[in-house]
């Protein structure tokens, strides 16, 4: 009964409805990008871009009037600038990508904290920057996420075959005439758009969970790339809806609840899959006479 009441809340309160719709868009985008992030072995890329968002966001708070739109645009612009430097360095491969991403993460996080401590601490709350604040989503945040979803989806689906080629065999793709630098940079730009757009919902810490868990789940259970994408998007959207209802019901922090729920479901599905395999092997074993 209480759970039903908790469900009804989403239709009763505007801010909850926006939270639900915003989360659904974010879940769709993370489900779409997650298999690519996992395939490229960029586990820390989400973390790294989101920490550069922390720096950009604090710079935006410091340098602009602080209206939502100017904040978003300044944060996006600054993050894109920082991320393109990272994208170029990883493309050139002069240093190992994971080291570069790690250095980038630490540097932007430190700078972000310093800028916040020195200039922004009276204007914005660091905790909601780090962990997100889903319940503060307004109509304009939702529309902004909608536009971002449209741009990323268009960028991805219009070149689906080329993306698959690029991620599977970069050198082969280059020789086949696919512009690999363009794809490399566009991948980073799409991730930046997603992470900056999702900042209010997921914060800078938890976005990595949304970018990794659906992809890992899908690669574990599906045997074609199309099904991997469908599986990752379905897992991401399904867990987000249930996670959001749960956090409203349990009155727990939304970002953390969603991430933990995804993790538990991933572990459970792997465990069930393993148990099923063991059972199948046992039933197919020839009986000893």
């Amino acid at each position: 009964m209480i759970l039903l009441q908790s469900l009804q809340d989403f239709w009763t309160y505007d801010f909850l409805l926006y939270a639900l719709l915003g989360t659904l868009i974010l879940a769709f985008l993370c489900g779409l990008m997650s298999p690519l992030v996992v395939a490229k072995q960029y586990a820390f890329i989400g973390e790294s871009i989101s920490h550069s968002t922390l720096l950009s966001l604090n710079l935006a708070w410091w340098l602009t009037s602080g209206t939502p739109f100017t904040l978003f645009l300044t944060t996006l612009g600054l993050t894109l600038l920082l991320v393109l430097v990272l994208a170029w360095s990883t493309y050139k491969n002069r240093l190992p990508s994971d080291s570069l991403i790690g250095i980038f993460l630490a540097a932007t996080l430190s700078l972000g904290i310093l800028v916040h401590f020195l200039f922004v601490k009276d204007k914005a709350d660091m905790t909601s920057q780090l962990f997100g604040s889903i319940l503060t989503i307004e109509a304009q945040d939702f529309y902004l996420l909608g536009v971002i979803a449209l741009v990323i989806s268009l960028g991805f689906f219009s070149r689906y075959k080329q993306w698959i080629y690029f991620f599977f065999d970069e050198e082969g793709a280059r020789i086949q005439g696919i512009p690999v630098l363009f794809h490399h940079l566009t991948f980073f730009i799409m991730l930046t758009l997603l992470i900056v757009g999702a900042n209010k919902i997921a914060g800078t810490i938890l976005i990595n969970a949304y970018l990794l868990i659906p992809g890992i789940f899908a690669y574990r259970f599906f045997r074609s790339m199309k099904n991997v994408f469908i599986g990752a998007i379905s897992f991401s959207i399904g867990t987000s809806i249930v996670g959001l209802i749960l956090c409203n019901y349990l009155e727990t922090p939304p970002g953390a609840t969603l991430a933990l729920f995804q993790f538990i479901l991933l572990m459970l599905s792997i465990a069930v899959h393993k148990l099923r395999k063991i059972y199948e092997n046992k039933t197919h074993e020839p009986k000893k006479s």
Binding site: I164, Y165, E171, R174, Q176, Y219, S224, M225
Partner: protein, 265 residues
């Protein structure tokens, strides 16, 4: 006169003021094969990148006859096996609306002997099957030139023989020109029409019949034992205690045209 498929004229390439390649001249005719051998860091991969367009030479000219029609077979270790890609999906990666192909999908699968594995994931195939699937992908656009980067890496001798017999078939039946970089000297000597030995700025290039032990020694900067490149040539069968050669593979076929060689310690 036989049509030229690949033509390299006075190619120079340097990286950070270090000469990597110096004055490379060669041509590969229609249906001809060129094997590129040499020690690690000798410039083989650089030359391959120049041919495939990944790098531009500092000096010289690379041309492809009437048009650039090139199929590339990468080292299969560079593929991303996290992604579940089937044999058919792999081959279709190179299929475009503009492809004027001689083959349909079934013919290609037959050609490379993977007709029973069309829906199998690439990551579940053996090394040799992966290479053959990659050759099928490269051949779907019916290229005039097929470029292979170390195709025998990780293959046992049966896998290597199967691979090279497929390449010979492509040459003979479809007039495909082939450029192959391989550490496996014995296979290169056995199957390629021309050989380029490359070690940075020193190189040797000609018909394989003219390759001598001294040439190899000067390119690899070491002496070679147990070598019999061609009949009546450089037979020296006195060292049977040899270890595996540069290709990690040792062939010993008495009376055959090519025996294998290995650097002397």
């Amino acid at each position: 006169m036989q049509e030229v498929t690949l033509y390299l004229k006075h190619i120079h390439f340097s990286y950070h003021q270090n000469n990597v390649l110096k004055d490379i001249n060669l041509e590969v005719k229609k249906g001809e094969s060129l094997g590129i051998v040499g020690p690690n860091g000798g410039g083989k991969s650089t030359l391959l990148k120049l041919i495939t367009g990944g790098l531009n030479p500092n000096e010289g000219e690379i041309s492809f006859g009437t048009d650039k029609s090139l199929g590339y077979v990468p080292q299969n270790i560079t593929l991303n096996y996290t992604m579940p890609i089937s044999v058919v999906e792999l081959i279709q990666m190179n299929q475009t609306k503009n492809n004027k192909t001689l083959f349909n999908l079934d013919q290609l699968l037959n050609l490379v002997g993977l007709e029973n594995k069309r829906d199998q994931l690439i990551r579940t195939l053996s090394g040799g099957e992966r290479q053959r699937a990659l050759i099928a992908r490269a051949m779907i656009s019916s290229p005039r030139l097929l470029v292979l980067d170390e195709p025998t890496t990780g293959l046992d001798s049966t896998g290597q023989d199967q691979l090279y017999s497929l390449l010979n078939r492509l040459k003979a039946e479809h007039n495909t020109s082939i450029v192959v970089v391989d550490h496996n000297l014995s296979q290169i000597i056995k199957h390629c029409d021309k050989i380029l030995c490359l070690n940075r700025t020193s190189h040797w290039h000609d018909q394989k019949e003219l390759l001598t032990k001294d040439v190899l020694s000067s390119i690899y900067h070491c002496e070679f034992e147990h070598i019999m490149i061609h009949e009546g040539g450089l037979a020296d069968e006195s060292h049977d205690q040899c270890e595996h050669g540069p290709g990690g593979h040792h062939e010993h076929q008495h009376g055959s045209k090519h025996e294998f060689l290995r650097p002397k310690k």
